[in-house]
């Protein structure tokens, strides 16, 4: 530890992030995909469930799908659902997980033990399995059911990470100092602990978003989407799988969109993770 180890200036976390190539690239592509999902439906040549020609024909940029709907138009319409569900599920998972993790780390002792044991139980389910098990007894799941399922399956993983990060912070003397001054426990968490977790938590959120998209698309791919008729990148792969030989674009177009998006969010997450490791 050196007494001269102070930087001439410490710009904000995001300010530093903007100087990192990996983050900037991931972030830009993520924004582009989101913009595509939000704006494209406005300019799509055909409607979401509109027939454009015979099935698996070559008309249009990507041809038509198994029902003769225009693949490009379906692709443009199919992003919103996937992205919205993924983002909301990520948010839910982060909030739940941070809550569990930080409370466990801060309370310590029995609380920690019990919360983390229960957490281990949830961790024993691979993410997709948790969703599938619940879907067994349901007929057509509503969108919110999928959000809750994916969100809940994130929570134990986020909880583990945030507990780990929080443990390194709650033992630091500035938290003890706040305790000794008699600060309220909620304030200690909000004002002392959480602000120091921002970096790692942002990185975790990026990672979780990547996985959300994977799981949500996978559910669609397995045929468990909320609305069977609607365009949805995951579901589009499922619908057109049998035509992979004749009209590969009906499958490959949504596959590539998901690949691009997950690569981008993952690069972004990793950029953030690197930053939060390096910075203070």
């Amino acid at each position: 530890m050196s007494t001269t180890a102070s930087l001439p200036s410490t710009p904000s976390f995001l300010g530093r992030a903007m100087k990192q190539k990996r983050f900037v690239f991931g972030f830009t592509v993520t924004l582009l995909v989101i913009a595509f999902a939000v704006l494209a439906p406005l300019v799509a040549p055909y409607g979401e469930e509109e027939t454009a020609g015979p099935p698996y024909s070559k008309g249009g940029l990507f041809g038509t799908d198994y029902l003769g709907q225009d693949v490009l138009s379906r692709l443009m319409h199919g992003g919103q659902g996937v992205l919205l569900i993924s983002v909301l599920a990520t948010l839910l998972g982060m909030v739940l997980g941070i809550l569990i993790g930080v409370v466990a780390a801060y309370a310590g002792g029995w609380w920690d033990e019990v919360l983390m044991r229960l957490n281990d139980v949830l961790l024993a389910f691979p993410q997709i399995l948790l969703a599938l098990v619940v879907l067994t007894a349901l007929q057509n799941p509503a969108a919110w059911v999928i959000i809750v399922l994916v969100g809940v399956s994130h929570a134990p993983r986020v909880a583990r990470v945030s507990r780990g990060v929080a443990l390194g912070i709650v033992s630091r003397d500035f938290v003890v100092a706040a305790e000794a001054l008699g600060e309220k426990r909620s304030r200690v968490i909000v004002a002392e602990v959480l602000p120091n977790m921002i970096g790692p938590l942002l990185a975790e959120a990026g990672l979780r978003l990547t996985y959300s998209i994977g799981v949500v698309a996978a559910l669609g791919f397995l045929g468990f989407a909320a609305d069977p008729g609607a365009a949805n990148w995951g579901q589009m792969m499922n619908e057109n799988r049998l035509g992979l030989q004749t009209q590969p674009w009906a499958v490959l177009a949504p596959v590539l969109m998901i690949a691009i998006f997950t690569i981008a969010t993952n690069l972004m997450a990793d950029g953030l993770a690197q930053l939060s490791q390096r910075g203070d």
Partner: protein, 601 residues
């Protein structure tokens, strides 16, 4: 081990030693000097102390002797001559051969420098095994002899241990044994006793000195601790901001320090024999790339004149073999080691007790750490809790401060018994007793600004708010010698000393009557420690604040406190006024602590 085979001539011309000429290390990628213009001679059998504060580049010089530089830096110029060969020019293979065999290195933190998953015995013989020296038996025997030499057990059981199964002193001695095993000619020791208790430190130092003498090895001892150097070195090199500021025989440097920096450094260290008014050095050590032109010390020097900033001063000879890098070397007068001496605290002063601890027993889980400790603290008085690691000194202070709640006994504040944990004490009690932590890098929230940190206790205890609070913050910052420009800095931008000042200001913001100071200077450089101690002394005098001062440094106790409690294994072994305890110790343990503490002058 046998006696040295070579007859070592003790002359100024080095016959077997090491010569460093014009060594320079720069950062990779940027033309910025980490250290430059280093000239140093290590004569056979001699220990040279390389002293400097953090940021001085002392460790960089140390590893350069092995042609090694940490990632991000590279050796850019100069020579390191060992028996006529330039180590820096040798082909890579020979350098590797030379490392360990001719120049050995003893690391700063041996606990992390020994491989955690290889047994001690294996690590000791590793080098010989790789080089194919001797037979398996002879190697093992050599390892056993080496361990015996450093006073460690050498049976099979010990050889089978892993590093984590040894105590700090043992680990350090294993590292010493490992360094001596190939019978090197030169030894580089990088702060090898940091973090060790004085008794252990003394043992390691004695072992090292003895081995150096008996093997005719010359050693470079890199450290921040002047007192250690005063005890073991033959010659001393004082480093500042990447250059050697002063170089000379130990006695000459301590009796007649000729560089203003050396003098300032000596002014800031406490003595065991007498209380002193400690002084710090204002400002901070400039980082590589931010060093002033001309004399590197010019921005902090009390003797500075315009000419100092013109060019880097050369090393100027003061006496034979004694040089200082200061253009005013002859003009700044003589110096006296007893400068700054003040009368010891009066043992017969009337005491008005404000805080008393009675029959304190502290537990961690089922384990009892502190046994039946009783002492008290008077208004405007400093009581020191002194002990080695594991003595329970910090545990006691945490219990008093309400940070640890597993204890029995009584802590009375103005006669009232205090609740065990801070949370169950009244807001008023929490306000009046403030705790300051050892490590200022951990005790301030790096996300908050200085203003937010200091004003929080005011808001919490309803002392001030709004504009008034900001004004008070500024006042406090002035009092702890922090510029008002730092008001909106985040804590992560400050140096260690500055952070500790902020921590003190935060404690003062609550307008306390008692401050519990837990080793608050041990993470800081000595010059910074000096200024913090001066600050505390001022607060005690002006505000009549009482302090419980936890430390392992007996010399510091002499300068800062009126009474002292000597702790060992959770019990008070001796207590009383500082003068009585330190001048006429009754207990064997106290005497040993005093005799093992390194002393200056």
């Amino acid at each position: 081990m046998t006696a040295p085979t070579r007859d070592v001539p003790q002359t100024t011309t080095p016959a077997g030693g090491l010569v460093v000429e014009d060594l320079g290390v720069t950062l990779t990628g940027r033309p910025v000097d980490v250290v430059d213009d280093i000239d140093l001679v290590l004569r056979p059998g001699e220990v040279v102390g390389l002293v400097g504060e953090s940021g001085s580049g002392k460790t960089t010089v140390g590893t350069s002797l092995l042609a090694y530089s940490r990632a991000g830096a590279l050796i850019s110029s100069g020579k390191v001559l060992l028996e006529g060969r330039d180590v820096l020019q040798l082909p890579w293979k020979e350098v590797r051969q030379l490392r360990g065999e001719e120049i050995a290195y003893v690391p700063q933190d041996p606990a992390s420098a020994l491989n955690p998953s290889i047994r001690i015995g294996k690590q000791l013989v590793e080098l010989h095994q790789l080089r194919g020296v001797g037979t398996a038996e002879s190697r093992l025997q050599a390892a056993r002899d080496g361990l015996a030499e450093v006073g460690l057990p050498n049976d099979d059981e010990f050889l089978r241990r892993y590093a984590h199964q040894l105590s700090g002193g043992q680990v350090q001695r294993v590292a010493l044994a490992m360094a001596f095993l190939p019978k090197p000619k030169v030894l580089v020791l990088d702060e090898p006793t940091t973090g060790l208790d004085v008794t252990t430190q003394k043992m390691v130092l004695d072992t090292m000195a003895q081995l150096c003498r008996s093997h005719g090895v010359c050693a470079l001892y890199v450290t921040h601790d002047l007192a250690v150097v005063a005890n073991i070195a033959d010659r001393v090199a004082v480093m500042y901001a990447g250059q050697i500021a002063e170089l000379g025989p130990k006695d000459a440097v301590f009796a007649n320090p000729s560089h203003p920096y050396t003098r300032a450094l000596l002014d800031s260290i406490p003595h065991l024999s007498q209380a002193r008014a400690l002084k710090g050095i204002p400002g901070r050590t400039p980082a590589p790339g931010a060093r002033p032109d001309g004399c590197r010390f010019s921005d902090r020097c009390t003797y500075v004149v315009d000419a100092c900033k013109q060019q880097v001063p050369p090393l100027i000879s003061v006496a034979p073999d004694h040089e200082a890098r200061c253009i005013r070397v002859g003009e700044i007068g003589m110096w006296d080691i007893n400068r700054g001496t003040v009368p010891d605290a009066d043992p017969n002063r009337k005491r008005d007790v404000i805080l008393s601890v009675e029959g304190l027993n502290v537990f961690y889980g089922r384990k009892q750490i502190v046994h039946d400790v009783t002492f008290d603290l008077a208004k405007g008085e400093v009581v020191a809790l002194v002990g080695e690691s594991g003595s329970g000194k910090t545990t006691i202070s945490r219990s008093v401060g309400g940070l640890h709640k597993e204890w029995t006994g009584a802590v009375r504040f103005e006669g009232r018994e205090l609740a065990r944990s801070a949370r169950s004490r009244s807001a008023e009690d929490r306000r009046r007793i403030q705790y300051i932590f050892q490590n200022p890098y951990l005790s301030l929230n790096p996300r908050l600004t200085i203003e937010q940190i200091i004003r929080r206790p005011m808001e919490l205890f309803g002392i001030a708010k709004g504009k008034q609070a900001t004004d008070r913050v500024l006042q406090l910052m002035e009092q702890v010698a922090l510029g008002s420009g730092m008001l909106h800095y985040q804590a992560s931008r400050l140096s260690g000393g500055e952070r500790q000042r902020v921590a003190i200001a935060r404690a003062l913001a609550a307008e306390p009557d008692v401050m519990v100071c837990d080793e608050i200077t041990s993470a800081l450089d000595v010059s910074v420690q000096g200024s913090i101690v001066a600050l505390l002394e001022g607060l005690r005098k002006e505000r009549g604040i009482s302090m419980l001062f936890v430390t392992h440094n007996l010399a510091l106790v002499r300068s800062i406190s009126a009474r002292v409690e000597i702790l060992q294994a959770g019990r008070v072994v001796e207590a009383g006024s500082v003068v009585t305890v330190m001048d006429t110790p009754r207990e064997e343990y106290t005497r040993k602590l005093l005799s093992d503490s390194p002393r200056v002058g």
